[in-house]
């Protein structure tokens, strides 16, 4: 029998606000343990939370970028559970009335993955296991999170990966999160079930907790899919449970079963007032939203004629795309910049993180100057590429590396003269060419190019040579 895979994702996105969600402590990754905390975020008796306005603004930004409705009134609730990383023994979250509802992310196929809601909440502290003991680092306690919850619309591990990449990209574009998976600033819980192909009824689901790598998430989904199918085929039943993925063995293990499921006893947090928004506040935030990756992608492909694959590479990293946008001002052919970025610059930026950061010495205006010289015919591509390498190494402008004479280009008369000289002094090559050896022309071309010191345009020279020989 064939089966449909049904996947829903709950993604936690850590916001990069300056301070935590309910106090003035710094929201900073990598500080000395327990240095970014205060009576409020360590949950001392008598302390009260006060909601960071910036978190609300970021949630609204995310809502608008993910096509959600923003609730004009939303509330904070307490999620009660006991764990050493949660000093109040409840997490302040939104359960009954979240700030955003009903959005979607559109995949490349055009399929829409619906978002049920987005809510704001605080992160728990971090447990550090060291030589048999467990330590608590409260720096992360109270860091603001958005939880983005989809409908079970995802039907393959590839779709899940694409959804997550897109979500990551959008969050970075609107500047609310760094979305660094390795630092845990984005992670997700994956709900997986299978059902007979075409069936309306959903199967029993399992939930894989805390996936912090797209690669492992794909593997975990594929593993669970196979496990569910095998269970069903062998007459067994899938048990509803919470799982942990083990990368070493590419398998999952149970954390707790449905019977042990927590009863979170959600109720409205009486310490916080309703979050009431006005429509004009929301519109104001809408006006600050940058151009989103989907819009840019379409522009690059349709208006600039950049191949989709390359356009996607540009769009994928916000810093790259922003650099590209700044560099192409006033240019006839944006594609040249795209080629330089993907063909030249990316070579020195090996990791995803390096590309994401896109820290290069050449400024967008220097890039723009370089391409303008090409477009005005003053500099040929060959010299331009060589100059770019030096520019990237030094951060100096193109004018430092090409001379006046380089930029004068070469007149048709001079080119003709050089071609004639080459033909004269390479009789054998001419003979070969005339006898059908196309390659022989390359020798002539090389000879001319050498004389122009690279200023000549190879195509033009080649056609001129052909004309003269004939």
């Amino acid at each position: 029998m064939k089966y449909d895979l049904v996947v829903g994702l709950e993604t936690h996105v850590e916001l990069n606000t300056k301070t935590k969600i309910f106090c003035n402590c710094a929201n900073k990754f990598g500080s000395e343990p327990n240095t970014n905390c205060c009576p409020i975020c360590i949950g001392l008796p008598g302390t009260l939370p006060k909601l960071n306005r910036q978190v609300v603004n970021f949630a609204i930004k995310a809502a608008l970028a993910l096509n959600c409705e923003v609730s004009l009134v939303s509330k904070m609730d307490r999620k009660n559970y006991v764990y050493p990383d949660l000093p109040k023994a409840y997490q302040i979250s939104q359960f009954y009335e979240p700030i955003c509802k009903n959005g979607y992310i559109e995949l490349d196929s055009g399929k829409k993955i619906r978002i049920n809601h987005i809510h704001m909440e605080e992160d728990a502290a971090k447990l550090v296991y060291k030589s048999g003991d467990t330590y608590v680092d409260y720096n992360r306690g109270g860091v603001p999170l958005l939880e983005v919850v989809t409908e079970p619309d995802i039907s393959s591990s590839e779709e899940a990966a694409e959804y997550l990449e897109k979500l990551q990209m959008i969050m970075r574009y609107i500047g609310v999160s760094d979305c660094r998976m390795q630092e845990g600033s984005i992670k997700c819980d994956v709900n997986v079930s299978v059902k007979p192909e075409g069936s309306e009824k959903l199967g029993t689901r399992t939930e894989i907790k805390n996936m912090n790598s797209i690669t492992f998430m794909v593997k975990a989904i594929d593993y669970e899919r196979e496990r569910h199918i095998e269970l069903i085929e062998n007459g067994g039943k899938v048990e509803q449970q919470t799982l942990r993925y083990l990368p070493e063995t590419n398998s999952t293990e149970s954390m707790r079963s449905k019977e042990d499921a927590q009863d979170y006893r959600y109720f409205r947090d009486p310490d916080l007032v309703d979050i009431v928004l006005r429509k004009d506040q929301i519109e104001e935030i809408r006006n600050t939203l940058p151009e989103l990756p989907d819009v840019r992608l379409k522009k690059y492909v349709n208006e600039f004629g950049i191949a989709e694959k390359e356009a996607m590479l540009l769009v994928k990293y916000k810093n790259v795309s922003d650099y590209f946008e700044k560099s192409i001002k006033g240019l006839k052919n944006a594609k040249t910049v795209s080629n330089f970025i993907i063909g030249q610059i990316f070579r020195s930026l090996e990791t995803e993180a390096e590309k994401e950061e896109f820290k290069i010495l050449t400024t967008p205006s220097q890039m723009n100057e370089l391409v303008k010289l090409i477009e005005s015919g003053k500099l040929n591509m060959n010299l331009a590429k060589k100059a770019l390498i030096k520019m990237l190494e030094s951060g100096k402008p193109v004018t430092e590396f090409v001379s006046e004479s380089d930029m004068q280009g070469i007149s048709p008369e001079e080119m003709k003269k050089l071609c004639e000289e080459a033909i004269k002094s390479n009789e054998n090559a001419v003979k070969d060419y005339l006898s059908g050896k196309e390659k022989a022309l390359k020798a002539l071309l090389g000879c001319v190019m050498k004389q122009t010191r690279g200023r000549g345009n190879a195509q033009e020279i080649e056609s001129m040579l052909k004309g003269l020989i004939r």
């Binding site: 949950g43 006060k50 307490r78 050493p84 006893r265």
Partner: protein, 489 residues
């Protein structure tokens, strides 16, 4: 006698200003009397801190510096109000040894004005109770008759003020915890509007109900304290950003034409002895030109179950953090963290606290939330609108504080409901979020004090303090009886 009873705060302030007594001398007097006292009003003393602040005030006064009216006045805080560096236990074993690292906002305000903190006062554990007997050190005693309870939960504060071993006290009121002990001990207790005094630093019992307020000799004193501690605090999101209290200014306003509503449901099942002086008070008000009108407020009868469901739910969540990990008591013997937490909580909490935690978790648990918590929340709104309607017709409401006077100490109850029922007159104020003040209005045949309660609309503290003050003046403070004990000034 009556002259003595007029506002102790102004009196002490003037004595200090005229250098009739130094602040250090005065503070020492109080500390000496506290140590001699058998009222069990205090959980802990902060002698060093008290003498240091007293010295500070003395210096300022002798150098001619202008000081606040509250500077140098010896006072106390209920032991659930956080005091930096000073043990704060909520009268619970589970917080034994806990020294907060920050000051509650209300205390910080008074401290900055030069208040002298004598110590922390006794209470029902985590403010849960109405006798003060649910305290890990045993209940405070009623200065009018030590065989009777002080009421609670702010029993220690009420006992200290009535017994003249503190000029005034700050308590907290979640369901009557300021007003009822004030009534039992024959002093004034003000429960302010929810949102008028910052809750920051008050160890939470029912977060949506708790309010800090003063326990004082007179309405005038209550007004001075209230004006000092009320107002917006950015640390408390539920505090009103637009409220600037100035009740003292209107304390002597004429109350001619004032409409006083008498909600009859409050008087059902109230002792004849308690009812009588309140009816006398109505006559006093009529003689001052106020209009008395009886009416029905039937929604009041839903308040007790609504209150207990909601407040226990919040308490269960608020008290979940006391686990022995970071501060306070930790059990001695345990195998792992789960056992440590279980044993710490089992040993650290008293019976009443455990009962309310269980009840609270029950009404929030999956499958029961709709039947209890949600229903109670909806009913709370119904009760609120009934009161708002009443305040469209009446300026204030006049009711009893408690159906009885103080009950005998160490009385055993077969059913906790019996005790909960005694809260019937006080819990509506917290459920609705309005202010209420308890004012002494007489004594029963045993000589125990009786209080009456004046309720006002939200943020109408000025009005109810004015109404209370006018009564005290009209009756020449005859019911604010000064006991012959403690520090006599």
């Amino acid at each position: 006698m009556s002259a003595q009873k007029r506002g102790i705060i102004k009196r002490v302030n003037s004595m200090l200003a005229k250098k009739e007594i130094s602040c250090k001398e005065l503070t020492q007097k109080y500390l000496d009397e506290i140590k001699k006292s058998e009222l069990n009003a205090y959980i802990s003393l902060s002698e060093d801190e008290a003498m240091a602040s007293a010295e500070n005030v003395d210096k300022k006064i002798s150098s001619g510096e202008e000081v606040d009216v509250l500077a140098g006045i010896p006072m106390t805080l209920k032991d659930n109000i956080s005091t930096s560096g000073i043990e704060t236990t909520c009268a619970s074993k589970i917080l034994r040894g806990y020294r907060p690292i920050y000051d509650a906002s209300a205390w910080k305000t008074l401290k900055d004005k030069g208040a002298v903190l004598l110590g922390k006062t006794n209470m029902d554990e985590f403010a849960m109770g109405s006798s003060c007997e649910n305290s890990c050190i045993g209940g405070a005693k009623n200065p009018h008759n030590t065989g009777y309870v002080t009421g609670g939960s702010s029993g220690g504060g009420a006992s200290a003020v009535a017994g003249n071993i503190a000029a005034y006290a700050l308590g907290s009121d979640t369901g009557g915890s300021i007003r009822q002990p004030a009534s039992f001990c024959g002093i004034v207790g003000l429960k302010p509007t929810y949102g008028s005094v910052s809750r920051y630093g008050l160890i939470a019992y029912g977060s949506g109900f708790d309010q800090i307020g003063p326990l004082t000799q007179t309405a005038e004193d209550a007004s001075i304290i209230f004006d000092a501690i009320a107002g917006y605090d950015p640390m408390d999101s539920t505090s009103n950003p637009n409220y600037e209290p100035n009740s003292y200014e209107s304390l002597n306003n004429d109350i001619k034409g004032l409409k006083i509503g008498i909600p009859k449901e409050y008087y059902d099942g109230v002792d004849e002895e308690v009812r009588k002086p309140i009816e006398e008070a109505m006559k006093v008000y009529e003689s001052l030109g106020a209009k008395i009108e009886h009416f029905s407020l039937p929604e009041v009868k839903y308040t007790l179950p609504v209150y207990y469901i909601l407040v226990c739910a919040e308490a269960a969540s608020n008290l979940a953090r006391f686990d022995g990990v970071r501060y306070g008591y930790r059990t001695e013997h345990y195998k792992d963290i789960n056992e440590m937490m279980c044993k710490t909580r089992s040993e650290g909490f008293g019976a009443e606290v455990k009962r309310r935690i269980l009840l609270g978790n029950y009404v929030l648990s999956s499958g029961y939330y709709d039947a209890y918590y949600k229903k109670a929340q909806n009913l709370r709104k119904v009760i609120m609108s009934a009161f708002y309607e009443a305040f469209k017709k009446y300026d204030v409401l006049l009711t009893p504080v408690s159906p009885t006077t103080a009950f005998p100490a160490n009385k055993s109850y077969s059913n906790p409901q019996e005790i909960y029922l005694a809260d019937i007159c006080t819990v509506p104020v917290n459920t609705v979020g309005i202010p209420g003040i308890s004012v002494p209005c007489g004594f029963d045949s045993k000589g125990l004090p009786i209080g009456m309660q004046i309720l006002g609309d939200k943020f109408s503290e000025s009005k109810i303090l004015n109404v209370a003050h006018k009564y005290e003046i009209a009756t020449d403070y005859v019911n604010n009886k000064c006991l012959d004990m403690g520090v006599r000034l």
